[in-house]
Symmetry: C2
Subunit: 341 residues, 2 copies
DNA sequence: TTGTAGGCGTTATCAA
DNA sequence: TTGATAACGCCTACAA
């Protein structure tokens, strides 16, 4: 039988009101009483019942995040880091992070969102992988539930998000490579229907144009944002009669696959060939050479996103509602080498 | 303003009692009434308030899992898959999965567990990475909160777990390697305070002994269950005057690091050197050669673990309280090659 | 500075 | 078969 506020009150011969307010830090309770209450609460192992407090306060004190588990075995470190960022940021408050998995676009996904909203399960939601047309956006904004997202889309509804500017970021990467002396710069992209692919590819072309380098479409290959995708996509590029000296990848995972393929062929990454990523996965798992990518990292973005959501919930008002971050280049070994001109 | 049971009752000119029971499937309500209630509830978008129901029922309808985020940027795919397994299994019920992050052994970790228990935040907990001496075990069993773990330890307390038998598994791996013709078999282990390390290492030695191969301690290196750890640990082994022809790793990630190091040195994994993992991470990210590891996978174990916990919570009694699975070998390319004798 | 009392939305007991 | 009513544990306006 768990300890309730009544037990503490009885023990101290005080009313539950006083106990409640002493614990909540109201200033209309004498310092001496407060100390006694705090002391007793700790000794008895008392913590307010979550359910009761939620009912009374009409707040769930929880944030929800639905993992887009397309396969049962998703393992992009992007999501681990994203969750870590959300978790670390929320840790300071006493809000909880509630996580569910559902395949994107699935009926189960819709059920889940509805249940969370109708049963007032969470006070806010973090939306990942926004689709071009996303019913969730309208649903949540109609329900009046605060949410933030990792990208914007073309829905008519305005909502807060933080997004890395893929175009300027990729353009900067290409210009960096050019600055290193590279002229034959390849690009490995993602699935065509993703917004981020369109933007990053546009950035790639922009970067080339800025240096008046002619676009060669044999230097473009399609991956799928996985290591494996990068590994396979790069094979054709490396087999070319006139192969690239630098390879700009749509994300970090693709770049890791590329590096693996290169080193299997005896090419030294950072010397014989330059490789760059995008996303800033800061991963102790990753092995040298360190990957040139950009900041802020996913982890950082997740933290800011959570902060933004909490402010929205608490204050009701946030200053910046939509943030388009210009990524900064984080040059490391993988693109240190000089191109062959 | 969310819809409550009163709204539904008023709309139908029924009492809240009837509505509640119609929705909960009691059989003392006429079929006609039930249909009307269900219909109206759906139309009005009614779902019972989580908080109120929890308060009344004295149940949180949630399971907790604390991610051992040693650094802010943990990214072991093991955890992604573990979470996916928990999430997919719980999805059938209307329980939620509550996830927090805390560095293992940290004060914050302890606070978190205490808060969850005292505020009756969760009905059960999944414990990962059990330590040899783990205060959590005693704490939870004293608090009477159901929990399950991914391993047992030497605490005097009995608790339900599912565990891959590290000893027999690793022993089987070593014997497999011996069968392939290897005699110089190295082992790369994990942190010493982990139970799984003790067991898997014991399995390694058992496997050698079974074939009367003399144990060489220069063939043992310590990693930390990361790719990077495997990558570094294997360097010394490969630099030996009399290097190993096969390397058994404590987990899949370590093995990936080892494969990377080997291929950088021009060694063909599966031909020049055999490498094996442990855990059965079934990861679309992983690149060839396919890694010899074992089944059932983490994902599978997570599902069974969640199932076990739910049964314990619901029924109060579970048949098998501790399951020691004998892992089956999943031989793939990485250990296909023949040893040099 | 402290105590009394009402109600948050359910579910469960009992009576009609 | 249905309805009135009492908790569940907490917070807070109001009274003392």
């Amino acid at each position: 039988m768990p300890i309730t506020i009544h037990d503490v009150a009885k023990q101290l011969k005080l009313s539950i009101t006083t106990v409640s307010r002493a614990l909540d830090g109201y200033d209309d309770v004498s310092e001496e009483t407060r100390q006694r209450v705090i002391q007793a609460a700790r000794e008895m192992g008392y913590a307010p019942s979550r359910a009761a407090r939620q009912l009374r306060r009409q707040q769930a004190e929880a944030i929800g995040y639905i993992l887009p588990a397309s396969t049962p075995r998703f393992t992009d470190p992007y999501f681990s880091q994203f969750i870590a960022g959300l978790g670390d940021e929320i840790a300071g408050s006493n809000y909880d992070l509630v996580i569910s998995t559902a395949p994107p676009g699935d009926a189960a996904e819709e059920m889940l969102y509805r249940r969370w909203v109708h049963s007032r399960r969470v006070d806010g939601i973090v939306l990942a992988r926004i689709r071009k047309q996303d019913w969730r956006v309208r649903f949540l904004s109609e329900a009046g539930l605060p949410f933030v997202a990792t990208a914007h889309n073309h829905d008519p509804v305005d909502f807060p998000y933080i997004e890395l500017n893929g175009q300027s970021g990729m353009s900067a990467i290409v210009q960096h490579l050019i600055h290193q002396g590279h002229r034959k710069i390849a690009y490995i992209g993602a699935q065509e229907d993703l917004i981020l692919e369109a933007e990053r590819f546009a950035g790639y072309r922009m970067g080339l144009e800025a240096a008046r380098i002619v676009f060669r479409d044999d230097l473009v290959a399609a991956g799928d944002m996985t290591r494996r995708g990068g590994y396979h996509a790069v094979q054709t590029l490396l087999d070319l009669v006139d192969p690239p000296t630098a390879i700009a990848c749509v994300n970090d995972l693709t770049a890791e696959g590329v590096m693996r393929a290169a080193s299997e062929r005896g090419l030294r990454v950072g010397q014989d060939v330059a490789v760059t990523g995008f996303d800033g996965i800061d991963d102790p798992e990753v092995i040298e050479p360190a990957l040139t990518s950009c900041t802020p990292s996913v982890y950082e973005i997740a933290r800011r996103l959570m902060d933004m959501l909490m402010k929205q919930i608490k204050g009701g008002f946030i200053q910046e509602t939509s943030i388009l971050l210009t990524p900064e280049l984080n040059v490391r070994e993988s693109s240190a080498g000089k191109g062959s001109g």
